[in-house]
Amino acid sequence: MADQKQLEEFVLNATSKVLKRDKNTLTMETRWVEDLKIKSLQVFMINMMLENEYKVKITMARVADNKTLMDVVDMVKELLANK
């Protein structure tokens, strides 16, 4: 099972890398759409990083419910638990 802090750190790093944003401007409460104006392609690229790291399958339909970075962490935890 993935460590919570590790997972949060990974999501922060992945988001920072794909959006080319300073990681210090991001928190778990940061919202994808309202705060980051994230595009589908960027979501896809972050998903691929998560898939590669945690060996889970993430569909775009599944991510549609994610509002914040913490929601992404919770999604991965759920996918890992159901593996």
């Binding site: 589908s40 691929m48 990083m49 775009m60």
Partner: protein, 324 residues
């Protein structure tokens, strides 16, 4: 001359390399072989050699790429992409196991000129893969699509033909996206059919006859297009009748009338209008609607419906080849 015949002739003068990532599907193999035989494209199939051979179809002249036999190429592709985009190489390597991504990467790397996919992959996957690996055309932010409408008995447009966009992909384009759709469509019809674009960006207003944020969006989109391409034949905002009926255009647009009611491209303000528009023309005017044809990528990509026939796939390959 019919639209498909025009596109076929155009494709045959270029015979570009078209990659089919879903090469394990029999219908795809048949279409790829046909495209080759008809001189439309030099087909490249991505698939498992054993599966393709098992169909008993003569694939002479068609290149077959088996990813499992191209590990070094996969790594080279991944490294090149990772460096250019600053993205983890190991993630790209993993993604390139998917033939759809591998095919899109072949286009990026110049080893194919266009791609036809969507027979087994969802449209969203085709679009995302193409956006990520093929990349977007200059000044275009968002993939979109267009239709070529063939309207019997209508003397306007290009002898009864007119392009409508976007009628299938972008629900609520921003002004920047709308400008991108206009530029993409102009580029697409020029490549596909040799038209000189005459672009009308439509609204429920003509030259400020109505005031509304939606009208303002179109006005600003027109401005953006003109800034990006000065001298480009684009006008708006205008109502559709002003775009396609010369007498109405003359009455409603008093000065600086660039199109004079002779638009050959209609850019709708949003997907509601675009989708309803093309369906109305198709049904009420018995028009043939060719599309939706994807556009906006750096190189041509076509999306297939899951129930596509061999003929449909060949048609998509013809369009991609003609657009190169």
């Amino acid at each position: 001359m019919g639209v498909m015949t025009m596109m076929q002739k155009r494709a045959q003068t270029k015979q570009p390399r078209v990659v089919f990532p879903e090469g394990n599907e029999k219908a795809i193999v048949k279409a790829a072989v046909a495209a080759n035989k008809q001189g439309i494209a030099r087909s490249i199939l991505i698939g498992t050699k054993k599966i393709i051979a098992g169909y008993g179809i003569d694939t002479t002249g068609v290149a077959v790429v088996d990813i499992s036999e191209n590990i070094e190429k996969k790594e080279t592709y991944a490294q090149s992409y990772a460096e250019s985009v600053d993205y983890p190489q190991e993630v790209v390597t993993h993604m390139l196991d998917d033939p759809l991504n591998f095919g899109a990467m072949m286009v990026r790397q110049g080893e194919a000129d266009g791609m036809v996919a969507g027979f087994v992959n969802a449209t969203e996957s085709v679009i995302l893969s193409s956006e990520m690996f093929v990349g977007m055309a200059e000044s275009v932010e968002t993939p979109s699509s267009f239709f070529i409408m063939d309207i019997p008995g209508w003397p306007g447009g290009e002898n009864g033909l007119i392009a409508f966009a976007d009628c299938a992909v972008v629900p609520q384009p921003t002004k920047e996206q709308l400008a991108g759709i206009a530029l993409s469509t102009a580029s697409s019809v020029k490549a596909l059919l040799g038209w000189e674009p005459r672009v009308a960006m439509v609204s429920f207003s003509t030259r400020g006859s109505a005031t509304h944020p939606d009208v303002k969006k179109v006005m600003e989109a027109v401005k953006i297009v003109k800034e990006i391409k000065p001298g480009f034949c684009v006008d708006g905002e205008m109502q559709v009748d002003a775009a396609i009926v010369p007498d109405v255009s003359k009455r409603k647009i008093k000065t600086g009338n660039a199109l004079e009611g002779k638009a050959n491209i209609i850019i709708f303000p949003d997907l509601d209008a675009g989708n309803a528009g093309y369906k109305l023309v198709q049904r009420l005017a018995n028009a043939a609607a060719y599309g939706p044809i994807l556009q906006g990528f750096a190189k041509p990509v076509s999306d297939l419906s899951r129930g596509a026939t061999v003929e449909d796939i060949l048609g998509a390959a013809t369009i991609v080849a003609a657009m190169v």
